[in-house]
């Protein structure tokens, strides 16, 4: 979409649009400034913000979803910052490079979501205090050794990424009224899935009985402590269609792998509760 053409088209039909937007020059300059500052990829959301200003849109529900996503991104971002800072945890080479990549994305998501929330007229939630042991602040939860025990670090990473995918998926419907925000959320969602696939492959290569995709509700050997994060993934019925045996060779395992399942906000908040002090 050519934004200048859009502005021109609107001007033809609604000469007052620039008064609404504080004048064409300011509007375009403001847009260019925004686009320059937060890069072109964020421009659709920025444009949405401009129209919000012009036509008085507000959407508390969408800001609420974005603040929920922001909370998850804070959690992931800080987890990787701490992991990368921990001495003798992540091996140098491909492993460390992978977590640097993942960390950079989570940090970018935090910045992007904060910017988007502000652009929509909302207030980004503050970063909670995290307890990565999963102990609600006690520091002695089930993952207390995550920053000194690399396999445990990988397990927590996998659970966070797979759960992040489920969380974003569960919010898509709540964003259907805002194309720009929905598209941005989908674009984050697939990045989280790429992360999850890579971490799952890392664990597979260290012996975990799993693939980059989720088979039934299997935890890939992590165990009961994360079972809740995978419950529901065994679903094989999509939009009323039974996928198992839909074609020769499509077992229940394959059917479950072929579709990732969502979680509601409430379900996710229960799952991450131990990490939040």
């Amino acid at each position: 979409m050519n934004f200048h053409n859009v502005i021109n088209e609107i001007e033809k039909a609604d000469p007052e649009v620039y008064e609404r937007l504080d004048g064409r020059r300011t509007a375009l300059k403001g847009f260019a400034k925004m686009a320059g500052k937060i890069t072109l990829a964020a421009a659709p959301v920025a444009l949405g913000g401009m129209f919000k200003k012009a036509y008085g849109q507000t959407s508390t529900a969408i800001v609420d979803v974005l603040n929920f996503a922001l909370t998850l991104e804070y959690l992931e971002a800080e987890f990787y910052i701490k992991g990368l800072a921990a001495a003798n945890l992540i091996p140098a080479g491909v492993a460390r490079a992978a977590f640097q990549t993942i960390s950079a994305h989570e940090n970018a998501h935090v910045t992007f979501l904060r910017t988007t929330i502000t652009t929509l007229g909302g207030t980004p939630v503050a970063k909670p205090v995290f307890d990565f042991s999963g102990g609600n602040g006690s520091g002695i939860g089930p993952f207390k050794d995550a920053f000194i025990n690399y396999p445990l670090f990988l397990s927590v990473s996998q659970a966070l990424e797979d759960t992040g995918v489920r969380a974003y998926k569960g919010q898509a419907g709540a964003l259907i009224s805002n194309n720009d925000v929905l598209t941005a959320a989908l674009r984050i969602h697939s990045v989280e899935a790429r992360h999850a696939a890579h971490v799952r492959k890392m664990r597979k290569e260290m012996g975990a009985p799993q693939d980059p995709w989720i088979t039934l509700k299997d935890t890939g050997g992590i165990g009961a402590v994360v079972q809740g994060n995978y419950n529901g993934e065994e679903n094989t019925v999509q939009a009323g269609v039974q996928i198992t045996n839909i074609a020769p060779g499509i077992t229940a395992a394959i059917a479950s792998e072929s579709f990732d399942e969502p979680l509601t906000k409430a379900e996710v908040l229960v799952l991450i509760d131990g990490f939040i002090v």
Binding site: E9, I10, D14, G56, R194
Partner: protein, 231 residues
């Protein structure tokens, strides 16, 4: 001035223009949209009168669009497994067989859900792929998976029914898992590199026309997306 629900209304208005133009005037009056917004809708609309298998309009069209891509992917992996490349490893065979089966499941799902509205089976053209070469097969797989991710990411906003959006979401993350794995098979650690993820940490997104232009290289049957919604 618009109400606080205006973004929902605008979205619906945009979709209405693509599905039932006669409703637009009444709808806009109800929504209180300005003429500017009508222009905005017009500016976003693109006419494309190419011929070929017509995907249709509305959510059905978008689902047929996904069905077309799943047909392409399934056909590709079926060929990969029936004529494995030289020196394929057991691990690679396992991964690629799983991916083949996932794509078949997706293809059959869309066929069943679309029922009478489903487009025909598409004829593929894989003459540019060397199935005996690991490099050629994995490079094509990477292109297809990244393309699929970008297609679903771009198609989400075109859907009006939240149930359809949810199903698309359930599939796109599996395509993203495939993309990551294929990329790692080519070069370990490239699962989400800067060729697909931008500085905001956002994955690649494409419009149907962009996607079908790329996919067209591998399709003998021409696909016509001119009736798809554009926003």
């Amino acid at each position: 001035m618009l109400t606080k629900n205006s973004s929902l209304l605008l979205t619906d208005a945009v979709k209405e223009t693509n599905i039932a133009p006669v409703n637009r005037r009444n709808f806009l009056r109800y929504a209180g949209l300005s003429a500017g917004m009508i222009a905005f809708i017009g500016a976003c609309k693109k006419d494309d009168n190419n011929t070929g298998v017509n995907l249709g309009s509305g959510d059905t069209g978008v689902l047929n669009y996904a069905y077309a891509l799943e047909q392409l992917e399934a056909a590709f992996y079926i060929q990969v497994i029936s004529t494995p490349y030289t020196n394929i490893t057991a691990a690679e065979t396992g991964y690629l067989t799983d991916i083949r089966d996932h794509e078949i499941a997706h293809r059959e799902f869309f066929k069943k859900v679309l029922a009478a509205n489903a487009i025909q089976g598409l004829e593929v053209n894989f003459t540019s792929i060397n199935f005996s070469s690991r490099d050629s097969v994995l490079a094509t797989a990477k292109a297809f998976e990244d393309l699929g991710v970008s297609a679903y990411n771009g198609a989400g906003k075109l859907l009006t029914d939240a149930n359809n959006l949810l199903v698309a979401g359930k599939i796109v993350s599996v395509e993203a898992r495939h993309a990551a794995l294929i990329r790692d098979l080519i070069s370990d650690g490239s699962f989400a590199d800067s060729s697909v993820i931008d500085a905001n940490g956002l994955d690649v997104v494409r419009t149907p026309n962009e996607v079908l232009t790329i996919a067209g290289t591998y399709l003998k049957t021409k696909v016509n997306a001119s009736n798809l919604p554009t926003s």
